[in-house]
C-alpha cells in the first residue's frame, strides 16, 4: 500500500496591531479567504506583534496604554493563548536572596558606568537637555535563532534585549552612550526606536533606526554603535547633512543581501549598497517621496515597495488615491500599483510598521491603514484585496508563512 504523504499546504498568519487591540488573520496558501480572530487585548494599543523565525508559535506583542503603561505579552501556541512572561500569580516576587524576579514590563535605562556611559539627557523641543523617560515599546524583533531572545525598540529611543523569553529586559546602553545621544530629539510622534534589522549571515551585525536621530549599526552584537547617515539630507534640521538628527521612518533589507539597505525617510527614499556607510536617493519618479513604509520582495532583492503619502503636513495619499509603488530596479524607476485599491476619496495613512511580505511564491504583500483596512496582494502587488475593512486604526502588520 502506498504510504507517500502529500505535502501539507502552506498557511499564512497575519499579525495585526491596532489602536484598540490585536487581530490574527489566517489563510491557506492561496490567500483568498481569511479568518479574522476576535480582538486580543481589547481596548489597548498594540504597537507591534512579531513571531520568532526559530519557532513560529512563539509570538511577542507590545501592549501599551496611556493609563497603565507598558505590557509585554507572549504566546507559545501561535496566538491562541497569551500570558505576561513575568512572575506567575501567587509566586513570591523576589528570590530568597531578595532580588526582584521577572518583571516583563520593566524597562529601566542602564546608566551604570561599567555597561555603558551614563547618559541621561537628550535634546528637548526647546533645545534644552531633557531626561530620558521610558514611554512604550514600538517594535519587537525576535532573534533569528533563539525563540527566547528578543529585542525591543522603545520610546524614548533605546534598544533593550531579553534572553529569557521576555521575562526580564536589559538595555544595550552602548547605543545611547556612543556619543551623539545628547543631539537626538523627538519628532512630533515621539523619539522612538522603530526598526531593528538583524543580519542573517552575521547576527553580531544589526541595524536600528530612530526618529529623529537616524540609522545606526553595530558589529559586535549591540555593545558599540556607529551612526550611518552619510548621504541623508534633511532640510528640517539646521545642518541638512548632520551626522544625526534625521527622521528615518523605516529601513528594510533582503535576507540574501544584508549589506543592501533601503530607507523611507521623512522625505526621500534612499538606498545603501555598503551596509549604510553611504546612502543615495532613489526617489526617482515617485509622485511624492514622503511616506512611512518600505519593504523588499521576498524573492527579488531589487524589487521594493513604498506607499507615497502627500506630505508631512497632510498625512494622506496624494489625490485621494491609495497607491503602492513598486520598483523592480532597486529604486529610481517606480510603477503605481492600483488594482483593487481605492482610487478616489481615500485619505488614510499607512504607518511605518504596517507593511509586510510573506515568503510564498508569488510573494504576498500586505499593508494596513489608519482607517482599519488590511490590504493583501497574492501576486507581488499586481492586484489587491481588502481582507478586512473595519478594524481600529492599524499600527503594525507582520506575516508568518507556516508549513
Amino acid at each position: 500500500m502506498a504510504t507517500a504523504k502529500s505535502s501539507r499546504p502552506a498557511r499564512v498568519r497575519l499579525l495585526v496591531g491596532t489602536r484598540k487591540g490585536a487581530f490574527i488573520l489566517i489563510s491557506d496558501g492561496k490567500r483568498r479567504r481569511w479568518e479574522v480572530s476576535d480582538p486580543h487585548f481589547a481596548g489597548w494599543e498594540i504597537y507591534h506583534m512579531k513571531g520568532s523565525p526559530a519557532d513560529p508559535n512563539r509570538l511577542y506583542a507590545s501592549q501599551t496604554s496611556g493609563w497603565f503603561g507598558q505590557i509585554i505579552q507572549r504566546s507559545d501556541d501561535g496566538g491562541k493563548t497569551w500570558h505576561q512572561p513575568g512572575t506567575p500569580p501567587g509566586e513570591p516576587i523576589t528570590t530568597p536572596e531578595g532580588m526582584p524576579k521577572g518583571e516583563s514590563n520593566k524597562f529601566v535605562y542602564d546608566t551604570s558606568p561599567k555597561s555603558g556611559k551614563p547618559l541621561t539627557t537628550h535634546q528637548w523641543y526647546d533645545g534644552t537637555q531633557h531626561p530620558w523617560e521610558f514611554k512604550r515599546v514600538w517594535h519587537l524583533e525576535p532573534s533569528l535563532a533563539d525563540p527566547d531572545t528578543v529585542y525591543a525598540g522603545v520610546e524614548d529611543a533605546a534598544l533593550f534585549r531579553s534572553t529569557d523569553g521576555g521575562k526580564t529586559w536589559h538595555e544595550l546602553a552602548g547605543l545611547r552612550g556612543h556619543g551623539t545621544g545628547p543631539q537626538w530629539s523627538p519628532g512630533a510622534g515621539g523619539m522612538g526606536l522603530h526598526t531593528i534589522l538583524i543580519d542573517p549571515g552575521n547576527p553580531q551585525r544589526m541595524y536600528v533606526a530612530i526618529s529623529a536621530a537616524g540609522t545606526f549599526r553595530t558589529e559586535d552584537g549591540g555593545k558599540t554603535w556607529k551612526p550611518i547617515n552619510r548621504g541623508l539630507k534633511s532640510n528640517y534640521i539646521p545642518d541638512p547633512e548632520a551626522e544625526v538628527g534625521h527622521c528615518v521612518h523605516r529601513i528594510a533589507m533582503h535576507r540574501s543581501r544584508p549589506s543592501v539597505l533601503f530607507m523611507q525617510k521623512h522625505w526621500d527614499v534612499l538606498r545603501s549598497d555598503d551596509a549604510g556607510e553611504n546612502w543615495r536617493e532613489v526617489s526617482g519618479n515617485l509622485p511624492t517621496d514622503f511616506g512611512f513604509v518600505i519593504d523588499v520582495h521576498a524573492h527579488e532583492p531589487e524589487t521594493i515597495y513604498v506607499v507615497p503619502i502627500k506630505s508631512d503636513s497632510e498625512h494622506f495619499p496624494p489625490e485621494g488615491k491609495l497607491r503602492v509603488y513598486r520598483s523592480r530596479t532597486g529604486g529610481n524607476e517606480w510603477e503605481a500599483l492600483t488594482e483593487g485599491l481605492p482610487q478616489r476619496d481615500c485619505y488614510v495613512n499607512v504607518l511605518r510598521d504596517a507593511m509586510a511580505v510573506d515568503s510564498l511564491d508569488p510573494c504576498g504583500v500586505y499593508f494596513g491603514t489608519t482607517g482599519g483596512q488590511v490590504y493583501a496582494s497574492a501576486d507581488a502587488g499586481d492586484s489587491w484585496t481588502p481582507i478586512v475593512r473595519d478594524l481600529p486604526g492599524v499600527l503594525s502588520v507582520e506575516v508568518q508563512t507556516l508549513p
Binding site: 493609563w67 507598558q70 518583571e103 520593566k106
Partner: protein
C-alpha cells in the same frame, strides 16, 4: 480583608472578576495595600505605580469613602472603613482619550 476595586483593564490583566480581597499586615496605607495587591498579582507591577519611583501613574487616581486620596502621602493611614473592609479602595482610570 481589604477590598480593592480595579479598573476593567487591570481586572483583565489580573484575570479576576469583581473586587479583589487582600490581607494586609500592619498599618493599612496606600503603600501597604498596593504592595499586597502586587504581591498577589505581579502582572500589575508597573501598571499602577512606576517600577522605580513607585509614584502613581498620572492618569490613575485613588478614591475611598467619597474622597480623593491620590495626593495623600503613601504611608498615611487609609480611612478606618477601608481598613475594616466596610468600604473599598478604588483605583480609578481617568475619563480621557478616544
Amino acid at each position: 480583608m481589604i477590598r480593592v476595586v480595579l479598573p476593567a483593564h487591570l481586572r483583565t490583566l489580573a484575570r479576576v472578576e469583581g473586587d479583589v480581597l487582600l490581607e494586609v499586615e500592619g498599618p493599612v496605607t496606600q503603600r501597604s495595600v498596593l504592595d499586597a495587591l502586587e504581591a498577589c498579582y505581579p502582572m500589575l507591577r508597573g501598571t499602577i505605580r512606576d517600577h522605580v519611583t513607585q509614584e502613581r501613574r498620572p492618569f490613575l487616581r485613588f478614591f475611598a469613602c467619597e474622597e480623593d486620596l491620590s495626593h495623600q502621602p503613601p504611608d498615611a493611614p487609609l480611612p478606618e472603613a477601608v481598613a475594616s473592609g466596610a468600604e473599598p479602595f478604588w483605583i480609578i482610570g481617568a475619563i480621557a482619550g478616544g
